[in-house]
């Protein structure tokens, strides 16, 4: 057994078995919370230090288990591990005593599911971890126990169950078509299957529930605000990405041209990116705004997925971009969510620094130069450029992305605005602050350490974008600022009357 | 429930039909000869039977098993009869008569009847008659005596009565089994002793039969013995 394989087992089993600590007498169970940030560490180590390509064969597991690592999964694993680690750290400070054990149990199980599904290569374990994450996630959402939380949980659960079933049916059909229990065999088989549209439809819808596809997104804005903040962070940063990963590993990218599905996804992405922004700016609660922002961002990613579906030749190029974008968004959004629970220091200087640190990941999302956002946006633009894409809707992609950038910033501004109105002042528990700072730091810094040699799309860290790129990045931001300023003025004047 | 007259009508019709069918059957049967001529067979074997009269031969030799069981039936009736008798005393003052005529008649008749019975028994070997007829006459004698108020203590349900009841039957049985010990088939009389044995059997049978009939007459139940039944309310 290669050491990576051992590490993978540890990475999955540690959070999976961690809930057993709940069996300890309740006095000692308080220790549980301190373990939270440690749980994803093996996974983090695995993501950082292992070279892709190893695999762990477990023929006795389910229908024959196989866990392995490739570039795509490594990125997702990295995101997952980092985000859960910082959120865990944050949670140590955030959590109150009541229902602590329950929260920890759900946390561990959700984490195990999230890590496991990124590692799993066979259908059964992938689906198992996916389901584990889904159902355990319910516990995180309803943790507060308020009526709102319960309603959100109910919506989440209903939609998740429907999603699970769609996935089950899709996977079953695909697996039967492929006559294989491995995810890797599915895309080709789906492309060749007579019922491919049914299968694709089921998978798109099924994973779409997690990924917040329009009309399947209802749970997101309900669940995020009511969940405990660290849970919202991982929910939005990592868990919804699992839906994306599901698409990436199952849909027939690069196997056949599916312009119909491509177009559908592009439209869906556009609706998500812009519609969510429209709805989001009207929200009053910061975390709701962020939830819509997530939907909007996922919409942008869906654009890429649509492009990749439509043009088989381009899929290979778009994959790393999607992965990068995911990583970027996950970290930034995680940081933003965590910031929602941070109390403002009273000192003015500290306050300014805090605001800056809160705003930076947001601006990064919007594509501020020298941030991960800029890089991701540029890569996306490159990947979806009309001339390289053989696709009917490709002409619309560029303006869509630009509009998306505007929308993104608007949402971020709205978030900051609402946050400023609701922010409490006071001292933060150290762990909470540490978690948030770590998240922000990761969002701003860690991006640059990433393994960039992903199939040569972006050759090296682009410290300094070229001039035209800079402009391309900045003018949507300007538009957004102007719009925001306008809106502010209008609202002031309206209020004065 | 059906009205009474309807049931009567139906029963009448049923009985008439049955009689008619029976008569028709008899008529039909009477028209044909029997395939087996049993009387001839019987007469061919008479000399081996030990008695001269064919009926007695059939009863006590050819079909003696029937007779054995028949006596058994009689004994059963006797047993069942005395099992009903729960009276302690056979002295029933109401039965004692002071009618002198009856008394006189009794004096005359009893010996006469006993002689008659003896004759019947004896004659059974050659002509109609036999143990049962004799027994019946003896029993009738007993009845007469009983009506005349003569106490017959031996009829008290006791060992004596039971001995008497079983005597004929047991002798019959002993003979049957003894014949087997001698190597013959059951109920087969040893060749030389047939006549003698039949006479002995007939005699004791007469006694037993008379006892049974008499006991049945005498043991008419009179008192209120209580015997809680099973299944009754506790």
């Amino acid at each position: 057994m290669p050491p990576e394989a051992l590490a993978a087992v540890v990475a999955v089993c540690l959070p999976l078995l961690y809930p057993a600590m709940a069996l300890l007498p309740s006095t000692r169970a308080r220790v549980m919370r301190f373990a939270l940030p440690l749980l994803p560490l093996p996974a983090l180590l695995l993501a950082v230090f292992s070279d892709p390509g190893w695999q762990l064969d477990m023929p006795w597991l389910l229908n024959g288990g196989l866990w392995a690592m490739d570039e795509l999964r490594r990125l997702f694993l990295l995101l997952t591990a980092v985000l859960w680690a910082v959120a865990g750290l944050y949670a140590v400070g955030y959590l109150k005593a009541d229902h602590l054990r329950r929260f920890c149990v759900c946390w561990g199980l959700t984490l195990a599911g999230n890590i496991g599904l990124t590692l799993a290569v066979d259908i059964a374990s992938f689906y198992s971890f996916f389901a584990l994450m889904t159902f355990a996630g319910y516990g995180l959402i309803v943790h507060e126990g308020s009526g709102e939380a319960l309603r959100a949980g109910r919506v989440y659960l209903v939609m998740a169950v429907f999603g699970e079933m769609a996935i089950l049916a899709g996977l079953l059909l695909a697996s039967a078509a492929a006559d294989s229990q491995m995810l890797a065999d599915l895309p080709a088989a789906i492309a060749a299957a007579p019922q491919k549209n049914l299968v694709i439809g089921l998978l798109v819808a099924g994973f779409g529930v997690k990924a917040g596809l329009p009309l399947l997104h209802f749970w997101l804005p309900l669940a995020h605000p009511v969940a405990p903040t660290p849970a919202s962070a991982v929910l939005s940063g990592a868990m919804i990405k699992a839906g994306l990963l599901g698409w990436l590993v199952t849909l027939p990218f690069g196997e056949a041209a599916l312009p119909g599905w491509g177009a559908l996804m592009v439209v869906a992405g556009a609706v998500a990116a812009l519609g969510a922004a429209l709805l989001g700016v009207c929200q009053r609660r910061p975390k709701t705004v962020l939830a819509y922002s997530s939907i909007s961002q996922m919409g942008l990613m869906v654009l890429m997925v649509g492009g990749a579906l439509a043009d088989p030749g381009r899929a290979a190029v778009l994959f790393p971009v999607i992965a990068l974008y995911t990583l970027h968004h996950g970290l930034a959004k995680g940081s933003l969510f965590l910031s929602a629970g941070v109390s403002m220091p009273t000192a003015a200087g500290a306050r300014a620094v805090t605001w800056l640190l809160i705003a930076l990941p947001g601006l990064s999302l919007a594509g501020l130069p020298f941030t991960s956002g800029a890089l991701a946006k540029l890569a996306m633009k490159e990947g979806l450029s009309a001339d390289k894409l053989d696709f009917a809707l490709s002409g619309y992609l560029s303006p869509l992305m630009t509009a998306g950038a505007v929308a993104t910033l608007l949402l971020v501004l709205r978030y900051l605005w609402t946050l400023a109105r609701t922010q409490k002042t006071g001292r933060n528990p150290p762990a909470l602050a540490a978690g948030w700072l770590a998240a922000t730091g990761m969002s701003l810094v860690a991006f640059w350490w990433m393994p960039w040699q992903v199939d040569g799309l972006v050759k090296a860290p682009v410290w300094l974008p070229k001039m035209y790129q800079l402009w391309a990045l900045l003018w949507p931001m300007l538009v957004a600022f102007i719009l925001a300023a306008g809106a502010l003025l209008v609202s002031r004047s309206v209020k004065k009357r | 429930m059906m009205a009474g007259w309807v049931r009567t009508l139906i029963t009448t019709l049923l009985c008439l039909t049955l009689s008619g069918a029976l008569a028709a059957s008899i008529w039909a049967i009477a028209g044909n000869p029997t395939p087996v001529d049993l009387p001839r067979l019987l007469s061919e074997n008479m000399d081996r039977s030990g008695v001269a009269h064919p009926v007695t031969a059939v009863l006590l030799n050819f079909r003696s098993y029937d007779t054995l069981l028949e006596i058994g039936v009689l004994v059963i009736a006797g047993i069942a009869g005395i099992s009903m008798a729960k009276t302690a005393s056979l002295e029933d003052p109401e039965l004692r008569t002071s009618d002198t005529l009856l008394y006189a008649l009794q004096r005359w008749f009893v010996p006469l009847m006993l002689v008659l019975a003896g004759y019947l028994l004896w004659a059974g070997a050659e002509r109609p008659g036999g143990a049962f007829q004799a027994g019946a006459v003896v029993a009738a004698t007993g009845v007469l005596m009983r009506l005349g108020g003569i106490p017959m203590d031996f009829l008290r349900p006791g060992l004596l009565l039971r001995l008497g009841l079983g005597l004929g039957f047991s002798v019959f049985l002993v003979v049957a089994v003894a014949s087997a010990i001698g190597g013959e088939a059951f109920l087969a009389y040893p060749p030389g002793l047939t006549k003698a044995l039949i006479v002995v059997i007939e005699s004791v049978l007469t006694l037993s039969i008379a006892m049974v009939l008499l006991a049945l007459f005498v043991s008419a139940p009179v008192n209120d013995a209580e015997d809680p039944e099973e299944g009754g309310p506790a």
């Binding site: - | 067979l41 050819f62 004994v75 729960k86 047991s170 099973e230």
Partner: protein, 489 residues
């Protein structure tokens, strides 16, 4: 050897009847147990002999048929002899403990018991029409005597009713015998059968057979001639009820069956066979229904006999103008039914007696909650009930299985409905009693445990009835070609 076995069989009961007549009840018990031992050994010996060598005819008194009386000792007969030995000894043993020895009149139980036994043996082995009549009367009168023994008005009414019915049946039978004799000049069943085979269907014999079968049906309590049975069986003492239900009614049926199998093919008719079958079916349904409606435990069992007897009469349609194989199946099925019902019903009556003794009342409601005392008798009752329901692995089941096969094989599928419905109906009344026993009532604290020996006997019988199903092949192999003993003299 055979000779002695025969002697033992026919004469020991008679001898013991006389012997016990001279003793009182307690002595009678000892004498009887010795006699039972002899009887069981003799029956077993005869059974083994027949199982080894096959059947034979035995002329009594050295006179063969048609002049003398001839006994037919074949597999079927000895099987019933053995059945009788088992059931009667169980009842005798049970009665020895059960019956109150201090009542003077109970001393007459033993002679009547032994006469009954001898009558049964005479009937099983009888091959002579008239001798069978005498045997039947022996059985009937002793049975009536047993029912009436020490009884009160109700018992006497029941026994009178029983007596009159039995006498009427016997007379009908005797009239049939008279007609047959008038026609054939022979009283041997085998002889008449041979004559019939040579000279098919003479006029008038149809009525003879009808009279005999009707008379015997009355004695067997075939619906609608069954009214005498439940009071008599229900009110008698439990060992007596057991004897009556298990054996006595079977005797008349046995004769009817033999007559039908010997003569039916030539002088019977399809319609008659169907009619008898139909009456049997009606008995199954009606008897079960009435059993279900009874309030007294023993009445349930008694009506159950009416129902179970109904099955027996399916023999008539299932052997009339069908193939050899089907007929054989039907015969085997009926035989098994007779045996298993005999064992089960005896067990049931004895167990019911114990239960009544235990709870002090004969009503079904009185059983509420007794199952918590785990009475053996309830268990035996249940086991026997399983056989009545014809559930596997009891003999009742195997019997029903064979009958089902025969019904399907003969194309007379309508009897299937009767067989299946009968099983369900019997479940209804058996479980009604079980149900009562499971009911939890506050007042169910009083329970008298009868002596173990009383409890063991029904259990043994019930287990035998259960085991019969597993060993039916062995049992049936002894009565191979049960009614088909070839070579009439």
């Amino acid at each position: 050897m055979t000779l002695w076995l025969m002697a033992g069989l026919l004469f020991t009961p008679l001898a013991w009847a006389v012997l016990t007549l001279l003793t009182d009840f307690r002595w009678g018990r000892w004498v009887t147990s010795f006699g039972i031992l002899v009887q069981v050994l003799v029956s077993l010996g005869l059974w083994l002999t027949i199982a080894r060598d096959g059947g034979f005819y035995y002329g009594l008194g050295g006179w063969d048929a048609p002049l003398g009386i001839e006994l037919r000792v074949d597999g079927l007969a000895v099987t019933f002899v053995l059945l009788t030995a088992v059931v009667a000894s169980a009842c005798g043993w049970h009665a020895g403990v059960y019956i109150d020895p201090d009542k003077a009149w109970h001393r007459y139980f033993w002679p009547l018991f032994w006469f009954l036994w001898s009558g049964l043996n005479a009937v099983w082995l009888g091959g002579d029409l008239f001798n069978l009549y005498v045997g039947l009367e022996l059985i009937s009168l002793s049975a009536v005597g047993l029912v009436a023994l020490g009884g009160k008005a109700a018992a006497l009414r029941a026994s009178l009713r029983y007596l009159l019915a039995a006498l009427l049946g016997s007379l009908a039978y005797l009239l049939g015998v008279a007609l047959l004799y008038g026609q054939f000049g022979s009283l041997s069943i085998a002889g008449v059968a041979t004559l019939l085979a040579d000279n098919p269907a003479p006029a008038g014999s149809g009525l003879a057979l009808a009279l005999m079968v009707t008379g015997l049906s009355l004695k067997t309590a075939l619906f609608p001639l069954h009214q005498w049975l439940p009071p008599a069986h229900g009110i008698a003492k439990s060992p007596v009820s057991a004897l009556l239900s298990a054996l006595v009614v079977k005797a008349s049926f046995y004769i009817a069956a033999r007559l039908w199998l010997e003569f039916g093919a030539t002088i019977g008719s399809f319609a008659a066979a169907q009619l008898v079958g139909l009456l049997g079916s009606a008995a199954v349904v009606w008897g079960s229904w009435l059993a279900f409606r009874q309030q007294q435990l023993k009445q349930v069992v008694a009506y159950s006999s009416v129902a179970q007897i109904g099955y027996l009469f399916l023999l008539f349609p299932l052997t009339y103008s069908v193939s050899e194989a089907v007929s054989l199946q039907a015969q085997q099925g009926i035989t098994l039914q007779v045996i298993s019902h005999g064992l089960a019903k005896a067990a049931m009556f004895l167990a019911a007696g114990n239960l009544i003794l235990s709870v002090g009342s004969g009503r079904i409601e009185a059983l509420a909650g007794v199952s918590r005392f785990l009475p053996f008798s309830l268990f035996s009752f249940g086991l026997a009930g399983v056989s009545l329901m014809s559930l596997p692995p009891t003999g009742g089941f195997t019997a029903k299985w064979l009958l089902l096969q025969a019904s399907l094989g003969s194309g007379q599928w309508w009897w299937v409905a009767v067989l299946l419905a009968g099983g369900l109906l019997s479940a209804a009344y058996v479980f009604r009693i079980y149900r009562a026993s499971f009911l939890e009532r506050p007042e169910t604290d009083r329970f008298y445990h009868p002596p173990r020996s009383l409890e063991v006997i029904p259990l043994i019988l019930a287990l035998l009835s259960l085991g019969l199903g597993l060993a039916s092949e062995q049992v049936l192999s002894v009565m191979a070609l049960p009614f088909e003993e070839a070579g009439a003299p």
